[in-house]
Symmetry: C2
Subunit: 100 residues, 2 copies
DNA sequence: TTGATAGTTCGTATATAATCGAACTAGAGG
DNA sequence: CCTCTAGTTCGATTATATACGAACTATCAA
């Protein structure tokens, strides 16, 4: 795995983005990335198996929400904030602004 | 069927709302209700079978997004705009504001 | 080169969701 | 009461997601 393909946000539908955000594990990842700025997969796993996390990161990447950069042995993830905000204005603000 | 139970928005999670909105049929219903204000189930079916539509309306109701009022033989649906806006500020604006 | 660490991929099991026909229910009107 | 219409419920099928162990890959460090 040399590096990841990240979709152009223009090719991401709102349905796709909403679906990616509708899972509690993934929403938790997104919230943590919003706070932390950048984090490895392991830092966000909450004790879940690696294969499950890998699946959720893949969904988030395919929905254009998360960017993953390979840094040595770790894969560092960030929210694609500006791009998502441009494509879906207000969506992340709304989703991240909600109280439990 | 005398009338429907509509959940208190406080009991609806953002995950639940996002999931309801992430299906293309349901998103289409929501968009049409946003424009039309109020519509019967049949007016929004786009040629789909009644049982399928009934399922999607149930999901939308259970996510607190749609209110259904029985008016004679028809069931009239509206978006629960103000309540949803209060619970998830900016969410519907973001979802409904997106171009194609 | 060996070992450890981080994460992916594969395969499979299980759960959840979508689709839709058929039978049913409720209200309106003759 | 009969019938039409609008929508629900049931049941079965199929599709899509989730979960996760096991085997694999890549990088780093000793």
């Amino acid at each position: 795995m040399r590096n990841y393909a990240h979709p152009d946000l223009a090719d991401v539908t709102i349905e796709h983005a909403l679906h990616a955000l509708s899972d509690p594990v993934r929403l938790d990842i997104v919230r943590q990335l919003d706070r932390a700025g950048e984090a490895s997969c392991a830092a966000l796993d909450g004790g879940r198996p690696k294969s499950s996390m890998s699946h959720h990161f893949r969904v988030l990447r395919s929905a254009g929400l998360v960017h993953t950069r390979i840094a040595g042995v770790q894969h560092m993830n960030t929210l694609r904030r500006e791009e998502v905000d441009k494509r879906f204005p207000g969506l992340l603000d709304a989703v991240l602004g909600v109280m439990g």
